[in-house]
Symmetry: C4
């Protein structure tokens, strides 16, 4: 076993540095990558601000080149370091890594005068690279467990919200009509969502008394039903906490787990638990 490990030691070392964060080098790699990702996002942001872009266009362009080369090297190293490259390439982060690096290269070969703008937009996809950060969160499993457990209930809730918005949006379209900004049903539904979620942009606002009455109902509804997802998640988090309040013993006889923390006998087979 020790022999086998030493054979692929170069590849293993690389795998350790790139994919893990336990060694000093692995941590250093992650920090450098983090800085590179943040830099790339800031570059894209600055480029989008016209006053800054006109002044420092060359510097920003140079910066993008360096970042793109760094990301390309990282992408290749990731493929080399892993035993099954396909698994990485077609994984979510593999796709994101590829899609956030390629647009810059494409802009070199297909540099038509109009095409550039569309490619620029594509280049913005590089922002998704930030999702890599999710790798560095790790902890907080409890929260994720609670959210997974409440996924179905929240889906039902969102579905209900959507139906309410479609119905009320249509009603508002009939009441307010095109002259008050409710130009068509999809727009009215958009307005109903804006109102129910208590965002309230105010770009469209009801003008007729009846419309304002129904708006009031939508708003109070939205203000009240926000209690539902909150209640779901709260109770789910409490439950996961409780589950952790059961002790970690497993019955020495039948191996059942999740005994209440004050249990003396196994609830399943009746044999005495170890204290």
């Amino acid at each position: 076993m020790n022999n086998k490990k030493q054979k692929n030691s170069g590849k293993n070392k690389l795998h350790e540095i790139i994919y893990e964060a336990d060694t000093t080098q692995g941590k250093l790699f992650d920090v450098i990558l983090l800085v590179a990702i943040l830099t790339s996002i800031i570059l894209v942001m600055l480029e989008s601000v016209q006053s800054i872009d006109t002044k420092y266009h060359n510097t920003l362009y140079f910066g993008e080149w360096i970042i793109t080369i760094l990301f390309s090297i990282e992408y290749l190293l990731r493929i080399i370091a892993i035993r099954k490259p396909r698994k990485y390439i077609f994984s979510f982060f593999g796709m994101v890594d590829f899609l956030s690096t390629i647009p810059f290269y494409l802009s070199l070969f297909f540099a038509g005068s109009q095409g550039l703008i569309a490619l620029r937009a594509l280049r913005l996809l590089r922002v998704f690279r930030i999702l890599k950060l999710a790798r560095y969160i790790g902890a907080s499993n409890k929260l994720i467990l609670a959210l997974k457990a409440s996924k179905a209930k929240i889906a039902v809730f969102l579905f209900f919200v959507l139906i309410v918005c479609i119905i009320l949006g249509t009603v508002m379209y009939m009441i307010e009509g095109q002259e008050n900004g409710f130009t068509n049903i999809p727009k009215s539904i958009y307005w109903a969502i804006v109102t129910l979620t208590t965002v309230g942009f105010g770009d469209i606002a009801p003008q007729t008394p009846l419309g304002q009455l129904i708006s009031s109902i939508i708003m109070i509804l939205g203000y009240s039903i926000i209690a539902i997802p909150t209640g779901i998640v709260s109770s789910e988090i409490s439950k996961t906490s409780e589950t952790l309040d059961t002790n970690t013993q497993s019955c020495p006889n039948c191996l059942k787990e999740k005994h209440a923390k004050n249990a003396i006998y196994c609830y399943h087979c009746g044999s005495t638990l170890n204290a």
Copy 2:
């Protein structure tokens, strides 16, 4: 008994397909109906967008015809398949089914030049058909139980919110007056609801310092009291969860309660529980 079943087997078969979803045919029927409902809603939406309506008016009109005929057939089948048709016809969904199908037929006979617009509006009621979707939710009884249990408390809360809005709306009408958009008391109450629910359209906004002070109080009030419905629902959901997670058995030996729902032996004294 077996004989009786075979007698009405045709009707029973139809009932199974239309009203139930256990057989393959029943599921297929439901999926087709779901698609038809969604299509009808999308058609109504597209028709309301003027640019699309002028281009594809005939296609949309044709689509509506097909959907309407499908819904008419479904309505008749539902009446035939059920033993007590009156129960269906006067049920909530029976009414919705009827009201969402009839306007299109009416538009054929009463095709006055102005009347059509009003009928168009009626036709939009067909959107209510989407409520049928509620049938496909099923699960999530726990959530519904919790909401039913907290209904009374939330009603008291909403009643309180309404009174606060009426009082504060009137006060704002006196302070801000007609020149700042608070034209009359109902409108001021509408504004108070917009503000308390933290929607904040901004179509009406306080201009005087005193008005802004009272607005601040309304906003902080609204921001704080949202805790009330949330708290009610949270605790109610927690309660229903707990009730459903421990069984109601008490140990025949030591009378201990709150055994895990899959417990066979008492966790405290080790004696066998009654199944």
Copy 3:
């Protein structure tokens, strides 16, 4: 004792009808009063809508007369029916009853041309009469208990929110300045409250990049800390529910209450509890 009761039977009867809701007559009185209050509020609302007021001024004025006389009679009856009239007169609802009836009478004697407008405003105070409705809520003691218990914590929270708004409002005044609508510090604080409570009217909105950055922080802060009052109330409601989960036994020996519902022995004196 039976004699004494019969002496004041007339007054007692009146007290029963007006202050209580157990007899048929008492309930009838309450329903009539409720209708009268709602009518008076609707009248005030309609009067404030100019287009309605000009049309139906006389009808509305006549309606107000009737309501005012009814309220006056009720006020006098309340004083007669109670044993200690002062206690009623200086109670919260006594004051509200008086203040919501008197402005209409005053408008008769001091009918100056300009003074009328001010009196009209005073007349609006009659809306406070709706607070009487609070009497008909009754139930929901659990909710009120939970809110009372969390009063102190929520006060601390609101105090914190206010300080944050004062500091951030002042900072925004320095950053955005008068040219972007942040005219003075009180107005900036008002804006900070509008933003932190997620109302967001949009009548004042940050224009500078730095101002928008700080706004973002305020918004995310407001979005996050709403969890605090919600958490407080949720846990308080859960606790009150739990308190009700303790049984209602009191120890036959030491009279201690609030035993856990599975308690066999008194937790205080050790004597056996009644099952």
Copy 4:
């Protein structure tokens, strides 16, 4: 030991008055300080309102002088009264005390015509002095404990919110573009935060159908995920409450736990608990 105390009695007395609030004098000092802080904040506010500043400039200036002198004396007394002055000077409140007093003095010596405005802004930092109020809150340790416990989880949540806003802000910049107010990516991210937190100023609002669709998703997302911090804090507060309400004793006879904190006898077997 008694001797030692009497030696530094003057300094100790001063320390007691300034830093503690147990004696009558200590309380008086705190109340005076509180009034001074509130006065200083109100003065700064009034000064920022132009109409008031032009009228009462001299009065306000005189008031600021008195407050500044009071704060200077307080600052010196604090340094004298404490055994280790450095600890106070470099503490958070020491810095705030210094920074909120010094700008007024600086404005005397460096009274350039343009420089004054910048110094005025610095003077506003005095508002931070209000943070001193935090000293008077004290209680509510339970709340603070719960918040500390949920700090990490809420940080993860806020991090997630930020990433979502960066991604969606960039997407909206691509869809809506500069002609609809989404001038650059930072501004689009600002808009995404405004929308996700359900603030919704409405100064920037999506105009294209696709933009409105994505906005709807952002709004519903923001409306749903607010459940997460709320759930975290709720469960954390519940947990702290429970921990504080039952003691950690286990019955020496039957080993039962979770006795009420004032329990003397085991609620299950009746044997005496260890104090």
